[in-house]
């Protein structure tokens, strides 16, 4: 670089603009860095930096033998610079990508020798909303000539990965999830079931030797272990069902709901419930999974009308554009709408366990299954005035 030929240029002109990167570029004391005072930067560096700052993708100019970094806002965000300071400005590019540098180095140096290169699908750590996360990115390295005709720096652009790489990444994540499911059911559930059995046996077989409060504690241990093991079973089940492939067919919802109502009535023969079934249009969907959706919502309607003198449940449906919306309305316990956000969360309950039994799994599962069908589920309710669930499913 022929620094002797440089002309003084006012950075206020070519670095005009108020985004935090331009402001940081102007306010940094470059005189103490390998790049030297900003007024003396060569035209080649200024032009390349101009391209870099304008680039819509994360982009960085690594200049000189020290690979001093100058970069745009998108790149700053990726590196976790939240929009007020840019401490990586002027730092070594290799230090910013410390973890990936060993695999990135030869491509970078290739560009330093004037040959552009592309490094696909690198696993790197980037910043997402304040946390460092693994991501897959493709790096493009473009040599930038300086006034001497040699390579003054390398323009690095970060690109989103190719679809095939995303697919691979998704498969990997799914595999990990499956593995986690196995760990859950095998390594966590089993010892809990054993713990439950042991505590139960101590109470039932050795109660004469145990003081009453010790028995009560052991009972709690057994119940706690059972509850945890049940929850693990539920998580495994929800995860399995929400990953199962959909086998779509024409589903006769009227017959489906009719048979569920018969089952629920048979399970509680002592109750007198008015069940009104309106028109229930057919839809395309997975019959088994939709059966689970309706079973969960209907059994809730049966359960939460238990304390009402004249229980009434209405199931209706109507076509609305591309969707069929089904309404399941009851006059049961309902809930406070302010807690509606919790309703479809796993293990969330709206009523005390002593008042209405249940693990808080049914609606969480229903929501996931409805969403897998491309539909939505909503609930409207008032405390002690019943609830209406509406399911919108693609027709």
């Amino acid at each position: 670089m022929r620094w002797d030929e440089r002309k003084e240029v006012n950075p206020a002109q070519w670095l005009a603009g108020h985004d935090f990167i331009r402001e940081s570029l102007r306010s940094t004391d470059w005189a103490t860095t390998p790049l030297g005072p900003i007024e003396g930067w060569p035209q080649s560096l200024r032009t390349a930096l101009g391209i870099c700052l304008q680039s819509p993708t994360p982009c960085c100019l690594a200049w000189g033998p020290g690979r001093s970094q100058l970069y745009n806002q998108a790149y700053a965000q990726l590196c976790g610079e939240a929009g007020s300071a840019a401490p990586a400005l002027g730092q070594d590019f290799a230090a910013t990508w410390r973890e990936a540098w060993p695999s990135m180095r030869s491509s970078f140096e290739c560009a330093q020798r004037a040959a552009p290169s592309l490094l696909g699908n690198q696993r790197v750590l980037i910043d997402r909303q304040g946390t460092r996360e693994e991501a897959i990115m493709t790096f493009s390295f473009v040599p930038v000539c300086d006034e001497s005709g040699g390579v003054g720096g390398v323009l690095v652009s970060l690109l989103d990965p190719e679809p095939a790489a995303l697919r691979l990444e998704l498969d990997r994540a799914n595999e990990e999830l499956k593995q986690l499911g196995y760990t859950l059911s095998h390594d966590l559930r089993s010892p809990l079931r054993t713990l439950e059995a042991m505590a139960h046996m101590v109470v039932t077989e050795h109660s004469p030797q145990l003081p009453g409060d010790a028995q009560a504690l052991l009972n709690q241990i057994a119940r706690g272990a059972k509850k945890l093991a049940d929850r693990i079973d539920a998580v495994s089940r929800v995860s399995r069902l929400t990953r199962a492939p959909l086998s779509r067919r024409r589903v006769d919802v009227a017959t489906l709901v009719g048979s569920l109502v018969v089952e629920l009535r048979n399970a509680a023969p002592e109750r007198h419930i008015d069940v009104v079934l309106g028109e229930l249009p057919e839809i395309d969907g997975d019959p088994e999974l939709l059966r689970l959706v309706f079973a969960n919502i209907l059994s809730n309607a049966f359960k939460f009308t238990r304390k009402v003198t004249q229980a009434r449940i209405e199931v209706t449906g109507q076509r609305q554009g591309q969707h069929v919306v089904y309404y399941i309305k009851d006059n049961g316990a309902g809930f406070e709408m302010q807690y509606a956000g919790k309703l479809f969360g796993l293990f969330q309950r709206m009523h005390a366990e002593s008042e209405f039994e249940g693990a808080g799994v049914g609606l969480a599962l229903a929501r996931r299954l409805v969403e897998r069908h491309g539909g939505t589920i909503r609930a409207e309710a008032r405390s002690n005035e019943g609830a209406t669930f509406s399911l919108a499913l693609p027709a």
Binding site: S190, P191, T194, L195, A197, M198, M201
Partner: protein, 129 residues
């Protein structure tokens, strides 16, 4: 006289539960927490039944069973596998020939002691069983 049962299981909780349930029925038990120890104890030929976990550190369950069956000093007694409930039919079938039978884990206290009965000579069965 009731049977002597050797339990080879590395999971302490399962081992403790199995031992408790068997002793409660009047059986004598001995235990090993890895395959190598299990094989040495089995070759002492004092056990009437061996319960063996599949997933053991170092030598695994099928290796234990195979080592015993091919050993010159082995006095054949039934070897029953502890299997995970998640095991599918095909995996279960692959155990035929190596093991005499299997009992699913986690151990169910209600059925465990009766599940081992078929593998014991009638004279060695616990009286309550």
């Amino acid at each position: 006289m009731s049977a002597h049962i050797l339990i080879i299981e590395d999971n302490e909780m399962s081992l403790a539960l199995a031992e408790y349930l068997l002793r409660r029925e009047g059986y004598t038990t001995s235990t090993a927490v890895d395959g190598d120890t299990g094989v040495s104890l089995a070759l002492e030929n004092t056990a009437d039944l061996i319960l063996c976990d599949l997933d053991l550190p170092s030598m695994d369950g099928p290796e234990v069973a195979t080592a015993l069956r091919t050993h010159a000093d082995w006095r054949a007694v039934p070897i029953v596998a502890f299997t995970a409930a998640s095991m599918n039919e095909q995996q279960r079938r692959s155990l035929v020939g190596t093991f005499d039978g299997c009992i699913a884990k986690p151990i169910d206290p209600g059925s465990f002691s009766s599940a081992i009965i078929p593998y014991l000579m009638p004279t060695l069965r616990a009286s309550q069983g």
